[in-house]
């Protein structure tokens, strides 16, 4: 049982590493946010789940499960808030970007 837990924790660590690598390689803030959010969410979930399996007796398992639920709910909200704030103060998208609907629409709002 502890071996399975350790393996799952290892997978979590691999995903966290890929997230860090993604932040390093992506060209602009929004793409970095993509890599950061997704990889850290599944990475932390697997990490905690491995710990939960390692101590599967009694309450410990359920407490770690609560942590996982809170991470699922709060992680996307925080990254959404960061991306929104960045777009409001005008952080530019990378030159490889195809289109930007939000910029178009918010400029329309200013003219009115």
């Amino acid at each position: 049982m502890e071996l399975i837990g350790s393996l799952i924790t290892l997978f979590g660590a691999i995903f966290l590493f890929l997230g860090a690598l993604g932040i390093f390689r992506m060209p602009d803030l929004y793409n970095r946010m993509q890599a950061g959010t997704k990889a850290t969410t599944l990475g932390s979930i697997l990490f905690l789940f491995g710990l939960a399996i390692g101590c599967y007796r009694g309450l410990c398992f359920w407490r770690v499960l609560i942590l996982i639920i809170f991470i699922i709910f709060t992680n996307p909200i925080s990254s959404h808030a960061l991306a929104r704030a960045a777009h409001h103060i005008g952080v530019k998208l990378t030159e490889r970007s195809v289109k930007d609907d939000l910029k178009k629409d918010s400029q329309k709002g200013d003219r009115k």
Binding site: L18, K38, A39, R63, P76, R84, R96, K99, D100
Partner: protein, 164 residues
Amino acid sequence: MKIWKGTLILFLLLFVLWLLLAGTDPQELIVGGITALLLSLQFSSKAKIFAEVNISFRSFYFLILYIFIFLIALIKSNLDVARRVLDPKLPINPGIVKVKTKLSSKLGRIMLANSITLTPGTLTVETKDENYYIHWIDVTSPDINSATEAIVRKFEKYLEVIFG
């Protein structure tokens, strides 16, 4: 009537949270139950947001389905990000697209935005009424209707039943 439904759901949420934290010792259960009751009565005016949940057998069934689909999408999105990061050419084609949702309840919209953020290659940047502005790492269809079809639909049909 509606406000009591929200209060009841808030009470159940708090009580289950306490149950998971403290276990099934009877003394702890009584204390936790009383605390949860007082808190949910105190914040019953704020609990209106929970009153939009449909309580029925069908919505419970759809909730279970939704959780499974969500977890599968989460794993897929991670493999997707891993593939893009490890590829030496960095195959991205990013842009911000606008999509529309049919959901009207606040809680449903929050859940939808969260699900979009955690699914492959999409990140919710801004929400205005029924419009979402989504940063898409690989824009395949810049048109609003097809983008809506690709990003929103698969979650919306479940959340529509659960939250109305």
